[in-house]
């Protein structure tokens, strides 16, 4: 079965997941993002790569932050951006996902940036576009259910590459609610593909998939239930956000107890390498998964992640819809 995000020549036509993307394609996107970090420093923060193109932000699930970063990225590429919060419009009226897509396609869209609460929804859209001979419209997954958040995964790889250079010598800990995290899944696929030899999944059993160590075939995944084990000697700590609805119930007794066992404090961080970096996809719950002293400390690269996020999204959008070479 062909990966639906690649065409018959193995080129990227949609960005749905980091699974199945080669090391070359991932590095290609990161390379492409490098010069875009400079665009933000210019007086005129625009390049004309997507001039005349229409980017539709289809957000079936609310997210001001992610939608904004895509909007900024598209506008810096000179695209026209249309924002649609579908959960408050069509879906509430009972229109099906594919009907919405058909309607917007008829408005000459060039790209759909899709956020949806169901894992796999962007695949459904991409497959529908292919089946109806409209796969000139590109789909970018901006987060689907628990499945993937590929631009987040890419910006995280961009950040690691900035600070750590060689992926093949790193130890990386991913800490928190991996079971429900699309961010974690995208990170894990990218880390595995880029050759990271020591990937640790850290969290309580209630927040890890049953088959966590087997979720990516052949990847060096190791499950740690003890944060001390998980952090010892690592180069990168990737914290995950704990969603409010998971905090008190059958998954976890309380935020206090979670912080005690899995919160990243300066003492815990001291177990990692002295030059270890701390990442977080935001928004952070201070005092739940991360101590303010760490979040605001010198090892944190959380704000640079946000900046790089724009550049990486510009790279993805321009590669899919712009053709040509980065300026």
């Amino acid at each position: 079965m062909r990966n639906p995000q690649l065409n018959e020549n193995g080129e990227l036509i949609h960005l749905l997941s980091l699974e199945g993307l080669s090391r070359e394609i991932i590095h290609g996107i990161l390379d492409r993002a490098e010069p875009f970090t400079a665009v933000a420093e210019r007086e005129v923060k625009k390049v004309p790569l997507l001039r005349g193109k229409s980017v539709f932000n289809l957000f079936f699930e609310n997210s001001t932050r992610t939608r904004t970063t895509f909007e900024i990225a598209a506008k810096r590429l000179s695209a026209d951006v249309i924002n649609l919060n579908i959960n408050t419009s069509s879906a509430a009226k009972g229109e099906s996902l594919l009907d919405t897509v058909d309607n917007l396609s008829a408005m000459q869209a060039d790209m759909f940036v899709v956020r949806h609460a169901s894992s796999g929804a962007p695949y459904l859209i991409a497959q529908h576009l292919a089946a109806t001979q409209r796969d000139h419209i590109h789909v970018v997954n901006a987060g689907d259910g628990r499945h993937a958040h590929p631009t987040q995964g890419l910006l995280d790889m961009f950040t690691i590459r900035r600070y750590k250079k060689d992926f093949t010598k790193l130890a990386v800990a991913v800490v928190g609610d991996i079971l429900h995290s699309r961010v974690a899944r995208s990170q894990l696929h990218a880390l595995a593909t880029l050759g990271v030899p020591d990937i640790r999944l850290v969290g309580p059993k209630t927040l890890l998939p049953t088959a966590a160590d087997r979720m990516i075939e052949g990847a060096p995944l190791r499950v740690c239930h003890d944060l001390t084990d998980g952090l010892r000697g690592v180069d990168v700590v990737m914290m995950l956000r704990l969603q409010n609805e998971r905090m008190n119930g059958a998954l976890l007794p309380s935020t206090q107890e979670y912080f005690k066992s899995y919160g990243l404090t300066p003492e815990k961080l001291a177990l990692a390498k002295p030059d270890a970096i701390v990442m977080h996809p935001g928004p952070m719950n201070r005092g739940v998964e991360i101590d303010s002293a760490v979040a605001d400390g010198k090892q944190a690269v959380i704000l640079p992640q946000v900046t790089f996020g724009i550049a990486v999204r510009m790279a993805v959008m321009s590669m899919l819809a712009g053709g040509g070479v980065a300026q």
Partner: protein, 431 residues
């Protein structure tokens, strides 16, 4: 009408008969099996079965006909045509219609609607509890009189174990069979795929094997304590099969079935969120599928079912987690049985037993049904075992066009189906 079926190879799993022979049908009965016709037999029609197998009409222990209540998904007419095209002459329908089959009037209506020449015989399973809510027992004696052959809950679990105990006690009082799918409601809650490596990778909420084994352990204990005649539907896991074997070793008379989907597919077939693979119970790990295929061969699993569930396109063309579970199956039961037999080198008669004589035994239809002997009901399936075809929406007669086997090439094509001596289907022409 007198019909002679000539030049075929007659395979009757119930008697072990497997030889070239003619089958002679008069009215609704088989009157002769052999090289020569019974004395004075003058056929009004001759069916040429050259190169074909003549076997008993298939008996499917689970096919949803969607009537009453879900006529937009399928109608009795469309699904009976599909059954005939699939060589099926007798089928069991689960009680999860709308309203559920919990009143004698509904069962009588269904039986009445289905009593037409050329239609498969329909055996409804009555609801074990009213509205399948798991709270109050149904009027089982009345329902049995109306035609229910067993009582069950379709895929709805009885959450209150005390109610389940009472229901099994009550059914056992009258020796009514109880057919249950083992699925713990709490452990299934919110899940859409087997809890394993694939669901972990795709971010799909998992249904653990424990959902089956925890419920099954309870059901088996209740069956032992109450003496209820128990049939387990839609078994999905190796661990579940082990529990069945252990219960049998302990002396419990329990039968079970698996679906054609679980016999051939596993969670990897979800691929890139293919909603066709959204099934209930979920497709399990490759090791589960292999254990089920072996269990069907060694007799631990008694029957193979189509688990026919017509689902309309709107309910499938959505994200995996929102898609309705189920697949069409009536027309795939025979070819997928043959595929299993070919892959595991199972003798043809032994394979066909899983869809003819074994289901007949589970239904208690041991004489004159599911067999090819003079005096038996003329329910017959005549198929070309070598003919290949590709599963396509156009080809499927069922109103349900969704199956994970779409686009797959299968072998074994039905040429003729006779239900009670009536030519219900012919591949040669439209009837």
């Amino acid at each position: 009408m007198k019909i002679e079926i000539r030049n075929g190879r007659v395979v009757d799993p119930s008697s072990g008969l497997d030889k070239p022979a003619s089958v002679h049908v008069a009215g609704s009965k088989i009157v002769g099996v052999g090289e020569t016709a019974p004395r004075g037999f003058q056929p009004e029609a001759v069916l040429d079965a050259t190169g074909c197998i003549v076997c008993p009409g298939l008996i499917d222990l689970s096919a949803r006909l969607r009537e009453p209540g879900f006529e937009y998904k399928a109608t009795l007419e469309s699904e009976m045509a599909a059954a005939a095209a699939g060589g099926i002459t007798r089928l069991v329908c689960p009680p999860d219609t709308d309203p559920p089959l919990d009143e004698p009037g509904l069962v009588e209506m269904l039986k009445h609607r289905a009593r037409q020449p050329g239609f498969a015989q329909v055996h409804p399973v009555g609801a074990l509890t009213t509205k399948l809510e798991g709270k109050r027992l149904t009027e089982m004696a009345e329902l049995a009189e109306a035609g229910c052959i067993a009582f069950g809950q379709a895929s709805v679990s009885v959450v209150d174990t005390q109610v389940l105990l009472r229901a099994m006690q009550y059914a056992a009082t009258f020796d009514f069979p109880v057919w249950l799918q083992a699925q713990d409601a709490h452990l299934t809650k919110g899940g859409v795929a087997h809890d394993g490596a694939v669901s972990a990778r795709l971010g799909l909420a998992g249904i653990p094997v424990m959902a089956e084994t925890v419920a099954l352990a309870t059901i088996l204990q209740l069956a032992g304590a109450t003496g209820a005649r128990l049939h387990i539907r839609r078994l999905s896991s190796a661990a579940g099969l082990a529990l069945i074997r252990a219960a049998r070793a302990g002396g419990l008379a329990v039968t079970c079935d698996i679906t054609i989907n679980h016999l051939h597919l596993c969670d990897r077939d979800i691929g890139f969120f293919d909603a066709h693979a959204r099934l209930d119970p979920p497709l399990r790990a490759p090791s589960d599928r292999d254990a089920l295929a072996a269990g069907l061969a060694d007799g631990s699993i008694d029957a193979l079912i189509s688990d026919h569930t017509p689902v309309d396109d709107d309910a499938k063309q959505t994200s995996f987690d929102e898609a309705e579970a189920g697949a069409t199956g009536l027309e795939l039961l025979l070819p997928l049985t043959l595929k299993w037999a070919a892959e595991r080198q199972i003798p043809l008669a032994q394979a066909l037993a899983k869809i003819t004589s074994e289901p007949a035994r589970i239904l208690g239809l041991t004489t004159g049904c599911g067999c090819i002997t003079p005096g038996a009901v003329a329910d017959l399936c005549i198929f070309d075992p070598a003919a290949k075809f590709t599963v396509s929406r156009e080809r499927l007669k069922s109103q349900g066009k969704n199956t994970p086997f779409l686009g797959k090439e299968l072998q074994g094509e039905v040429r003729y189906t006779l239900t009670e001596g009536h030519l219900a289907y012919s591949a040669d022409r439209l009837l």
